[in-house]
């Protein structure tokens, strides 16, 4: 058996590993296996590849891999709140790698005169996808880490400009297919793709980055597919397609849960109105102390905790866990209502709560909890805003109108923890905070919940 054949066999064995890795994500108890399966797949794939006779030296591979590991390990240690940035960065790296391979292949084949028009076409595809994912991912990461302004940067005719750039890049690619002699055009394609990536993200508000990131996820997947076409490698195509699909499906889920169209997310410059709210400051809100809150919570028979982005910012999940323990110990039935787009990533809240050891069978999905809300004694809103904004149900003109929300307002009493009356991601005011059955607990979520827990244990006394 030639090394190529052995490699092919490894690839054949690797593909099902990746498929199983993803299938096992269908439920938490099988999910642990996913990583093992994925890693096995990688080992097979890399192992098989290293056998390729074309490889004359392992030196550069080893050095580069070592560097990659050196950077990879710390990147995996980031706090969970930084996961979105990390993801964006990783999209960028993925696109970057695909782009570089494409570029290298182009010049190799150009030199050896083996640049068939088919190869040229797929290389152009790979390079364009790779480069725009690279810069796009970096931009997204930057915005999420708030290193770059999270405001949508808009200017007249910007969509036209981006569009022209992209068509130009594709056009040049097409030209190279027809007339490969024009190799001077290739670097231009690269440049255009890189710039396009930046322009694609600039006009998008920071809070839309999670959605953008999962779009980039599918681009990264597709550039891997393109690489597969270039290198005639089935495994690259299959694995790339799986990623592409994943990113695609996740973005759709997010858009649905925000009741926004894909185009609105990508070109809507959402959140540019971040200041529209303030006006309402004047109106009076009832605010309460930690002791009042403790009182209410301990005497309630059922409490639904609705966490939001604020809990993530404040890193309050462990305190929330303490509160959960104290209340359940006192026979209060505590549930967590998790909105699909609460926080800044899909499943954001679930991970944080899981990190704080809150049993996942206490997490209830929006559609299951809403019917129960009217019977709930206390809804404790922790740094959530848009996902509990009744305007989504009532106010036709609201930018979030039609977005499914958790009906906190329908519970007997609402306790809302936030630092100020500032709006959330959607930049709009929230009637909930002015409602008669709502008590505000102003302050940093971590701080406030800490106090409440103290008050509770103080009372409950032990």
């Amino acid at each position: 058996m030639t090394p190529e054949t052995i490699a092919e066999i490894c690839y054949l064995a690797a593909a099902p590993c990746f498929i199983l890795a993803l299938r096992w994500m269908s439920q938490p108890d099988t999910a642990r296996r996913s990583v093992a399966a994925g890693v096995t797949g990688m080992i097979l794939a890399v192992g098989g590849t290293l056998l390729h006779p074309e490889i004359v030296t392992y030196k550069w591979i080893a050095i580069a891999a070592a560097a990659g590991i050196a950077l990879g390990i710390p990147l995996a240690r980031v706090p969970l709140t930084a996961v979105p940035e990390r993801t964006g960065l990783s999209q960028a790296f993925g696109g970057f790698a695909a782009g570089l391979v494409g570029i290298a292949k182009y010049y190799l084949w150009l030199g050896e005169g083996q640049l068939t028009s088919f190869r040229m076409a797929v290389i152009a595809l790979e390079v364009i996808l790779g480069c725009l994912t690279a810069t796009g991912g970096l931009m997204a990461a930057g915005k999420l880490a708030e290193k770059i302004t999270t405001r949508p940067v808009t200017y007249a005719g910007q969509n036209i400009v981006s569009f022209v750039l992209l068509t130009l890049a594709i056009g040049l690619g097409g030209w190279l297919v027809v007339d490969p002699a024009q190799s001077w055009a290739f670097p231009i394609i690269i440049g255009l793709a890189l710039i396009f990536g930046v322009l694609l993200i600039l006009p998008i508000g920071g809070a839309d980055m999670p959605t953008v990131i999962s779009f980039l996820n599918s681009y990264a997947g597709l550039s891997a597919v393109a690489m597969g076409f270039v290198l005639e490698n089935k495994l690259l195509i299959a694995a790339g397609a799986l990623d592409g699909a994943s990113g695609f499906v996740l973005s759709i889920i997010m858009c649905k849960a925000m009741n926004r169209s894909v185009t609105n997310v990508l070109f809507g410059a959402f959140g540019s109105v971040q200041t529209a709210a303030k006006v309402a400051e004047q109106r009076t809100v009832k605010s309460a102390t930690a002791t009042d809150a403790a009182e209410l919570l301990t005497n309630a028979d059922s409490v639904v905790i609705i966490p939001g982005y604020g809990m993530a910012v404040a890193q309050a999940q462990h305190r929330v866990r303490d509160l959960y323990d104290q209340l359940t110990k006192r026979g209060v039935d505590v549930k967590f209502a998790v909105h699909p787009v609460a926080g800044r990533m899909p499943g954001h809240m679930n991970v944080l709560l899981a990190e704080a050891d809150i049993p996942y069978d206490r997490l209830v999905e929006m559609d299951d909890i809403n019917p129960e809300m009217p019977q709930v004694s206390v809804a404790l809103v922790i740094g959530a805003n848009d996902v509990v904004n009744p305007a989504a149900r009532t106010d036709e003109k609201s930018p979030i109108y039609g977005m499914p929300i958790i009906d906190a307002d329908k519970s007997h009493t609402v306790l809302a923890i936030k630092r100020s009356m500032n709006p959330g991601f959607a930049g709009i005011d929230n009637e909930l905070y002015y409602a008669n059955n709502t008590l505000m607990l102003f302050g940093d979520a971590k701080q406030v919940i800490g106090d409440v827990v103290k008050a509770v244990t103080g009372e409950g006394g032990h």
Binding site: V39, I61, G94, L236, D361
Partner: protein, 98 residues
């Protein structure tokens, strides 16, 4: 091993359908780890990079290849590690401490 365009497209088509079906069935709880897992999987690009870096055909391609290996290894390592880290948390739910 030659792979003609049509066969490649065929594979792509099947894998894409499969991907759509699988991802739709992923638990909402796990969407964040799912994202990092797919990042990790997309680091499969490393197999393309390795060959180019290993061929050491000329400086340019070697440098590009090595950079690509670096980038995708980073994804590979960090992707799997962080996914594992997150999933462990969920795993422990089986027997809640409280």
């Amino acid at each position: 091993m030659k792979l003609d365009l049509l066969t490649a497209l065929f594979v792509f088509m099947l894998a894409a359908f499969l991907g759509l079906d699988i991802i739709r069935r992923v638990s909402r709880l796990l969407h964040t780890p799912l994202m990092s897992l797919t990042n990790a999987i997309s680091s499969i690009a490393v197999i393309g990079a390795i060959i180019i870096a290993g061929e050491a055909h000329d400086t340019l391609s070697t440098v590009l290849g090595a950079l690509a290996v670096f980038a995708s290894t980073t994804n590979l390592v960090s992707g799997y590690l962080i996914t594992d880290r997150m999933l462990r948390m969920f795993k422990r739910r089986e027997a809640p401490k409280s």
